[in-house]
């Protein structure tokens, strides 16, 4: 798959749900065969600056794509595909 510069971040407060989302996102990126690293950010201020108040957050290119709940891998892939 062609891979433009996509920045994928998972932001969380360090709660178990957030770490789970990080794991699932890495899995999604692998399955899509992207060469992007998934970044995990535990700084709540970053979430707030993005304008979001729920954790966890999946952000793609700095924009919130999924907020406040734990989606399944399929949903994460769909969200990522919209941006590539």
């Amino acid at each position: 798959m062609e891979n433009k510069t996509t920045k994928i971040q998972v932001l969380g407060s360090g709660c178990p749900t957030c770490k789970k989302l990080f794991e699932l996102t890495k899995q999604a990126v692998n399955e899509l065969e992207l060469k992007t690293e998934v970044e995990y950010i535990a700084d709540i201020q970053k979430i707030i600056e993005m304008g979001v108040m729920q954790s966890p957050v999946l952000a793609i290119n700095g924009k919130p794509a999924i907020t406040g709940f734990l989606p399944d891998v399929k949903k994460i892939k769909e969200a990522i595909k919209k941006f590539i």
């Binding site: 407060s13 709540i44 600056e49 954790s55 709940f69």
Partner: protein, 311 residues
Amino acid sequence: MDIFYPVKLLADWLTPNVALNFFIYDTIKIFILLAVIIFIVSIIRSYLPPEKIRAILSRKNKYTGNVVASLLGIITPFCSCSAIPLFLGFVQAGVPLGVTFSFLVASPMINEVALVLLLGLFGWKIALIYILSGLIIAIFSGIIIGKLKVENLVEPFVYQNTINGNTDLPKMSQKERIAYAKNYTLDILKKVWPYVLVGIGVGAWIHGYVPADFLAKYAGSNKWYAVPLAVLIGIPLYSNAAGIIPLVSALTEKGVAMGTTLAFMMSVTALSLPEFMILKKVMKTKLILIFAGIVGAGIMFTGFLFNLILK
């Protein structure tokens, strides 16, 4: 006519044992109510995420702000892990501190799981009394904290950052809303079912085997110390709210006064030790104590009031 009459018939058909019959009936009824009501609340919530609530609140003035914040707190789920993002997000977008506190009080106190259990085990009148008292406590606690001018007790870094409250959230389709509500409902059910089962189980045992009015001499409405004691015991019990309400419903039958029961349940949901610990990241201990003190006083007042009225 009671819509749960068929469940009653089923329980009667399965067993004549009082405690077991009570357990089967209550469990089925509560799980049906939980599934239906959490689903409905999740659908409403998908239209009103916290980010949208913030946009509404930052446009309101003080007093209407407190009222609206408390009402919106009802539909927002609250776990102590979201306390900090909510607090920062509100305050940094310019929502007044008092209005933010109204929301922080209402959100955990009036939650859908507590409501279902109250509705299913105590009936709609007590559920309504609980909601209205909770709203009044949330509104007034927020107004009082707003008047106290305690902004200096918030950690300085909170006010060093300001953000504009406009958020570009991903849009949800109708299908996604339903999928979200379904996932959320299953999630909550998975989390609470053991507590609910144990709570109803112990409650059913009490219902069947403890003599009526057994507790009246310790916790009847004429015992002044029952209400403050109930509030104190409630503070460390937050995570088990789902199991505690079925339990106290059985205790009420055995002579604990209704006002005391209400105060206990409010304390369990609204005053939570883990939440206080987390809030220490953004505010001084003194402010947490003021917050707990005001809400605690409001809860005790409610308890005494309904011990007088609901005899």
